[in-house]
Amino acid sequence: MHITAIWALMVKDARLYAANRLFALVTVLGLVAYIVIYFLLPATVDETLRLGLVIPDSLSALSEMPDNDAVQVTRFTDVEALRKAVASGEVEVGFAFPADLYDQLRQGTQPTVELLLAPEVPPDFVSVYAAAARELSFTLIGQELPVVIKEEILGVDMVGASIAPRQRILPLFAVLVLMVECLGLASLIVAEIEQKTIRALLVTPLTVRDVFVAKTLFGSLFAFGQAILLLAITGGLVKAPLLNLTALSIGSVLMTGIAFLIATLGRDLMSVMGWGMLALLIMALPTFTVLIPGLAADWVRIIPTYYLVDTLYRSLNFGADWNDVGGNLLLLTAFALLSLALGMAALQRRWKLFLNN
């Protein structure tokens, strides 16, 4: 292996990358945008559920309603006042019990409880609040449910420690940085064929293996460096730095392999962008599981980036350690080596076809 030559090729690629205005701009602007968006997003989550109640004075059960950091109860004198409070966002949910609740019950009629909801309450939650209204009604009339509810949190109890939006999105940004650099590397390789410079390189002492080593190192280190910079600025390296750096470095190798595959398919810059955007879209799918938990089904686990995103997400936000994400890292390594091997084989085949013509 020719170390000096490999280093010279890497320096050359760095200069060509910087000379490509599109990729240089996307790289710098992308990194700045991720950092700015990160700091613009809320650093904390307001977990307090603000409830409004209109309840007959005669009912003393109000004293049993929880009123703490998690649930804040405000009592209103009439339905109109509660309605205004919900509309203005002062409370998120309002329960209005009729003043003659007991009288209606005694007369055998069915009282109506009004459930008032703010527009931003997710539709799925409406039935939950309706159930809560029913249970509250039972409590107010002194008819407890004939069962005992035992609560048990499996895993980390996140009450009071919800993940802030900026922390939730950080793994996504780290993966995006790697993916964008993969497009840049693919375009450099395609340019090598388009401009026929690969032919000139291979009539020097440089071997095909040297070229691959140089491209792999450049692609991986360049992407890895940016991901480190992003995590360093956003404080992502404070928690489990070694674990996160390991995940990112394996992720960089994975992306380099994907860049080789894109370069095999691409004929010019435009086709690299086309194939690259398709690959980027597929590889970005697992990040949605982080942004919107429960959205993606289990099949998303066949996408290699899932294991990178999941590792970073759990490490950065749940304090996961090597034991927790060891399986992820092993699978990620397997995917990275596979993509690199496939990418090299495919690209070498394309180079051979090119050189034989």
Partner: protein
């Protein structure tokens, strides 16, 4: 006696059903300039690719500087310089950066880049981006790139094609300098004037086969016809051309007749060009 710079032994290469190189054999001595002449599609570039290790021959073998190219291509690459027909430079880098990169690939640190640029007439343009160079400047830079490792064999594939006279002359000068230094030059071209002027020997290749290989002088002696071409004034006052083949028994008589009975305006002796000989041998022109 030093072994030959290039030995081609029955080289064969096929693209699908097309036999591009058909059992070619030849030898090039050290310090020699060999012109490899033939029309487009004759097999010139394929032969160069085999000799430079870019293609593996389907049969036969190429020995450069005593080394089997197919078996030890990198040992050969360290000692040759290749200038391609089409520019393949890093256009977003400067001329200096292109040369410096290739010097590093050959692990050469103390390279005189300014001197190289001067030799190919690119003084003062080294720091410009190659993308801003003209075609001639790019070609000259490619020659400079092929020289960074002071090669023992220099392969030049159509180095002056489509260039302005200044660029072409600069390249021809470098070829002569390299020969003076002791390098062997394998020159692929279809410029007969260039081949005649520069090459010690020329090989004619047609349909993948070498049809003739000798010095330009010997080829002309063997295949060409010397003649005298005269312009004379015709009966109606127009200029007519008369051609008299030399070296024939009746030549002296025909010339005497011409001078006695015609109003001769111009009189030149001419010898066959390499192009004439190529057409005579192959029935094809060199384009």
């Amino acid at each position: 006696m030093a072994e030959p710079a290039i030995v081609a032994e029955s080289l064969t290469y096929r693209y699908g059903n097309l036999l591009a190189v058909d059992h070619i054999s030849f030898t090039v001595e050290r310090g020699e300039i060999l012109g490899f002449l033939g029309p487009n599609g004759a097999g010139k570039s394929t032969t160069v690719k085999i000799l430079t290790g870019q293609l593996r021959p389907m049969s036969g073998r190429a020995i450069l500087l005593g080394i089997d190219v197919a078996r030890y291509p990198k040992q050969v690459h360290a000692r040759i310089g290749v200038c391609f027909e089409q520019p393949n430079l890093y256009e977003e880098l400067s001329g200096v950066d292109n040369l410096r990169l290739f010097a590093r690939l050959f692990n050469i640190r103390d390279i005189d880049i300014a001197g190289l640029l001067h030799r190919v007439g690119l003084d003062g343009r080294g720091d410009d981006l190659v993308g801003h160079y003209s075609k001639g400047m790019k070609q000259r830079l490619m020659i400079a790139r092929a020289l960074v490792n002071r090669p023992d064999i220099l392969f030049l594939d159509e180095p002056t094609e489509g260039l302005d006279p200044t660029s072409a002359e600069a390249i021809r000068r470098v070829i002569c300098e390299e020969q003076e230094r002791g390098a062997t030059v394998f020159l692929t071209t279809h410029d007969m004037y260039e081949a005649d002027r520069l090459c010690n020997r020329v090989a004619f290749i047609n349909s993948g086969r070498i049809v003739a290989l000798d010095t330009p002088h010997n080829l002309k002696q063997q295949y060409g016809k010397r003649m005298v071409r005269a312009e004379v004034v015709g009966p109606d006052g127009s200029l007519l051309t008369r051609e008299i083949i030399l070296d024939q028994p009746e030549t002296a008589h025909e010339i005497a007749n011409l001078l006695q009975h015609e109003r001769v305006v111009t009189l030149h002796s001419e010898e066959a060009t390499l192009e004439d000989i190529f057409i005579q041998l192959t029935g094809r022109a060199l384009v």
